[in-house]
């Protein structure tokens, strides 16, 4: 593994040198955004703008000035150049190249050695690792389906549970090998227990496999057709999962009711939920949907952080379908990730569901080293609500109108 890393670093240096020789511009990715920003508030900035423009002495801020527009104008342009949300929906950019052409933005012929190395990498990945992985994946899935169906025929009881647990675990572990996922688990003493809800940040469907290979969970999700549907039906026979029809997902009360029922039954497994609702590229955590936090059960937060050096696990669902995505996963070097089990949290008396959700989100973000964002992951597909715009407008109006009233009084 370490040799691979050394090779990557050498490859990047070689490319930079080659580029300088040919006087081409290399693209250097920045994770923190491309423009220099000052984090000042609306009020401060507008006051400063007015102060620098006006020659009159200001005891209190005046009403509207023509220059106020500069603040909004510049803020708007800054977001066009670089905003916090859009870049979370495309894969993270790496500082050094990892010999996969898909992550290389400057793919051009630099040197023979580099090309040979890259060719070698392709050969290893496609001809050696890929068939191995596909075989393993196939074995894993078929074992899962067959195993759970067989277990389903047994009468309910401890033996069934025992067997079901082991069948599940074994199959997930095979799938993990199929992807060559190198996982480090931290704090396993905090693993979720029965009657609780496990929440984690969502980067790809592989998250499920990673978590389920180390613990025994009840899944929540939509009923799919095709291969996924077969797997889902088989799994339900062995132990109770919560699968929804597509139409039911829209009815939030129904969903909440079923989850509550499941949670209150102490013999049932902890539920695994991804409250972001969509796949985010693992550099940040976006707004959690409050539904799972309203139920009132103990929440076990889990932070999952992938190391993109060996293979980026992010699923850009608007760009790749499931099969393409799996193929890409299997042709990367490996999937390296760390899983942190955080201590359980419960909702406090004076917190509402949204605040609780934010508290959990911050804990996960802090542990995983991710940026904590307040934006909704749904922005991937929809536009933002107008309520946020009103807040900005309220702030500004207070500035200009509040003082107008003072004036008319005096």
């Amino acid at each position: 593994m370490k040799t691979l890393l050394k090779i990557f670093a050498w490859a990047t240096l070689r490319m930079e040198r080659g580029a300088k020789e040919k006087n081409h511009q290399l693209y250097k990715p920045y994770t923190n955004g491309i423009i220099a920003k000052d984090p000042t508030s609306l009020e401060e900035e507008i006051k400063e703008i007015r102060r620098s423009g006006s020659s009159k002495a200001l005891d209190n801020t005046q009403e509207f000035e023509l220059s106020d527009i500069f603040y909004f104008c510049r803020k708007g342009m800054e977001t066009i150049m670089d905003d916090e949300v859009t870049k979370r929906f495309s894969a993270e950019e790496l500082e050094s190249w990892n010999l996969l052409s898909r992550t290389n933005y400057n793919f051009q012929y630099i040197s023979l050695r580099l090309t040979v190395l890259w060719g070698l990498g392709v050969l290893i990945r496609y001809c050696f690792l890929l068939p191995l992985r596909i075989a393993l994946a196939f074995t894993g899935i078929s074992l899962l389906v067959v195993g759970t169906t067989v277990v389903g025929y047994l009468p309910n009881g401890r033996f069934k549970e025992f067997l079901s647990k082991h069948v599940h675990l074994m199959c997930y572990r095979i799938c993990v090998r199929a992807l060559t996922a190198i996982i480090t688990y931290h704090d396993r003493k905090n693993r979720p227990r029965n009657g609780g809800i496990c929440v984690a940040n969502h980067t790809s469907p592989i998250d499920v496999i990673i978590l389920a290979s180390d613990g025994y969970y009840a899944m929540v999700g939509q009923v799919h057709g095709g291969l996924m549907g077969v797997i889902q039906r088989a799994m339900v026979k062995a132990c109770p999962h919560v699968w929804f029809e597509r139409s039911e997902v829209k009815d939030r009360h129904l969903v909440a009711k079923r989850l509550t029922e499941h949670v209150q039954d102490k013999s049932k497994l902890p539920i695994l939920i991804f409250p972001e609702g969509t796949c985010i590229n693992n550099t940040s955590v976006m707004m959690f949907k409050k539904g799972s936090f309203e139920i009132g059960a103990t929440v076990y937060p889990v932070a999952i952080k992938y190391d993109p050096q060996f293979g980026d696990a992010f699923w850009n669902s608007s760009k790749y379908g499931m099969v393409t995505y799996l193929l890409r996963m299997m042709t990367s070097w490996a999937i390296v990730c760390s899983v942190w089990y955080l201590p359980p949290m419960t909702r406090e008396a004076d917190e509402d569901a949204v605040q609780f959700a934010n508290r959990v989100k911050s804990a996960i973000a802090r542990q995983g080293g991710l940026v904590d964002l307040l934006w909704d992951g749904g922005l991937k597909r929809e536009k933002v609500k107008d309520t946020f715009k009103e807040e900005q407008q309220k702030l500004y109006s207070k500035m200009i109108v509040g003082n107008h009233e003072d004036r008319s009084r005096s």
Binding site: I35, R74, K75, I80, A91, V384, F388, K394, S397
Partner: protein, 196 residues
């Protein structure tokens, strides 16, 4: 994923754009990447919906006006050259720009006058060269939403127009606009620095 190479050879008309806007090659590369990220269906140009998708822009009270500035004269698309041309107004002013100013060359896009002109155009919707009382009212209404009553807004507008209006025609021309802002540090307030 970063599919496709976006090195300098793929940017069309790179040298022309560089001369016109004054951006460095590195900055242009970054902006080109940004252009491609915003261009969701890989059309090769941006439409209004692409810009409206940016969450932080949609909550900006002047978001629509700013988007309008990219689509002058009723255009529905903006290509990379047009995109960068607008952003060039916000390039910080460096010493080289003001030092050797060749009088035959047109003013650089990020000169103080051009920055002011850009802001002026956010007010002046019908492009007649004057901000009428009505146009001022519209912009104010955008910035405060429903938080302020009509009368308050009108009195604020009247006062502002009166203060800036010198020739008494009830509207603010570009010259009056520039004059009322002559002490302002426009260079700093209307500049965005791109990291190297």
């Amino acid at each position: 994923m970063g599919s496709g190479s976006s090195h300098t050879a793929t940017i069309p008309d790179l040298d022309d754009i560089r001369r016109e806007t004054g951006f460095s090659q590195a900055s242009l590369l970054r902006l080109y990447r940004r252009f491609r990220t915003l261009d969701q269906n890989k059309k090769g140009y941006l439409s209004r919906t692409d810009l409206e998708q940016i969450g932080a822009l949609a909550v900006n009270p002047l978001g629509d006006r700013i988007i309008d500035s990219f689509f002058p004269d009723g255009n529905l698309k903006v290509d990379f050259a047009g995109f960068v041309r607008v952003l060039a107004h916000f390039r910080p002013i460096e010493e080289e720009d003001t030092g050797n100013q060749d009088p035959k060359e047109p003013e650089p896009l990020n000169s103080r006058m051009n920055k002011l002109r850009f802001a002026f155009q956010l007010y002046d919707l019908d492009r007649d060269g004057k901000i009428s009382r009505q146009e001022m009212l519209q912009v104010l209404r955008l910035m405060v939403g429903v938080q302020v009553t009509e009368e308050q807004l009108e009195s604020i507008t009247d006062r502002t127009v009166q203060e800036a209006d010198e020739d008494g025609d009830g509207a603010v021309s570009f010259h009056e606009f520039a004059k009322s802002l002559e002490k302002m540090n426009i260079e700093q307030k209307m500049s965005i620095r791109i990291l190297k």
